[in-house]
């Protein structure tokens, strides 16, 4: 009985480790990648909404200004991301945790 219990505990530990390893190596990076992609799409959305924030005049910015009250957090994050972004390679490479 003691031996069976010992084996069970051991197997549980192994299973938890494996799940953790799988999550860390596969699942999480995958979701991170999706989230990054979402941010990228959102960035293009924001740029199409407010190109004049970067000095490009746009016929729709008068209308899209209406969205700003609902986009405050996105807007800040967007500006920060765009100003901070070094290169596309850097951004796309962030998913690889060397």
């Amino acid at each position: 009985m003691a031996l069976a219990e010992q084996i069970d505990t051991y197997l549980d530990a192994v299973e938890e480790w494996l799940r953790g390893l799988y999550h860390g190596m596969v699942t999480h990076p995958a979701y991170e990648k999706i989230e990054k992609e979402a941010e990228d799409v959102e960035d293009t959305f924001m740029l199409a909404c407010f190109p004049d924030a970067f000095g490009i005049p746009s016929p729709v910015s008068y209308y899209t200004a209406e969205l700003l009250p609902y986009l405050t957090e996105e807007f800040e994050a967007w500006e920060r991301r765009l100003w901070d972004r070094g290169t596309m390679l850097e951004r796309k490479g962030q998913q690889y945790h060397f």
């Binding site: 999480h28 959102e42 609902y70």
Partner: protein
Amino acid sequence: MYRYVFFGGKGGVGKTTASSSYAVKCARQGVRTLLVSTDPAHSTRDLFDQAFDDDPQSVAGYENLDVMEIDPEREVDNHLSEIKHSMGDQVSQSMVNEIDVQVEMAHRTPGAYEAALFDRFIAVMRDSDEYDRVVFDTSPTGGTLRLLALPELLESWIDRLIHKRKKAIDLYEKAAIGNMEPRRVMDGDPIIDRLQTRKERFEFAGRALREDATFFLVLNPDELSIRETDRAIDKLVEAELRVGGLVVNRLTPEPDPDEQGRGARFLRDRVETERERLAEIEETLSPPVVAAIETRVAEVKGGLLDEVADELDIDVTTRQAA
């Protein structure tokens, strides 16, 4: 005749005279008419000797005629304060400043004026059920004309924004692992909701302008005016908008044949030149000349308005929408 009638042309050619006369003409025939003035100078109040504002008001002495004056600058300010107001409801004070810059900027761009005007046009067209005809006296900017040709572009732009927003939200929802709350959710997203409303408005405007509106261009018998009108026609045709005709204004009256003084000789020369210009207009510009209005001794107002109304060869009868 179409439900929405626009009068355009460069500054000072007599758009207000032409549009007001046409509105009077319609009203006299029992057509319930709304005249919308967008000229910041608001000459309509001088013409009818009556003060108007943003709400349609009936004109003393005329049945079936209402006038409203739109002030684009005020529209821009209203829009701005509306946004700021909803920002106060939505956002914490610390965030407001950051966003304020962008909001202010959007309302100080050169296009804001036209966008506000266009917005108001759409609103007026939408709520004009109690009228059979809405006559627009557009402001003398080329921008207004350009904007009227824009609904499709704006619509597809908004479409693209909706598409992007949906895609981003979809990805956020997929990126939420297990019990994690996604950063954004599709259901009840205020951004998509607003964009959708915008899109519907542009759709309506595009349809109304294409199917139920016509443009009249007012010009004077001089080179500059003819050139400008030629370009305006091209723009309108390109945008698949209908140009109903041309109103030539400020023609010099001919002196009586027995008059031989210096003034009479000058007038005769002038009339001769203008006759050539008029022929040029009829030859080179494709829309028909629907009226050639002579310069009056005094400003066209009151009784003179009725006189000019008679000179306009523009149909007033209402018809079912195409």
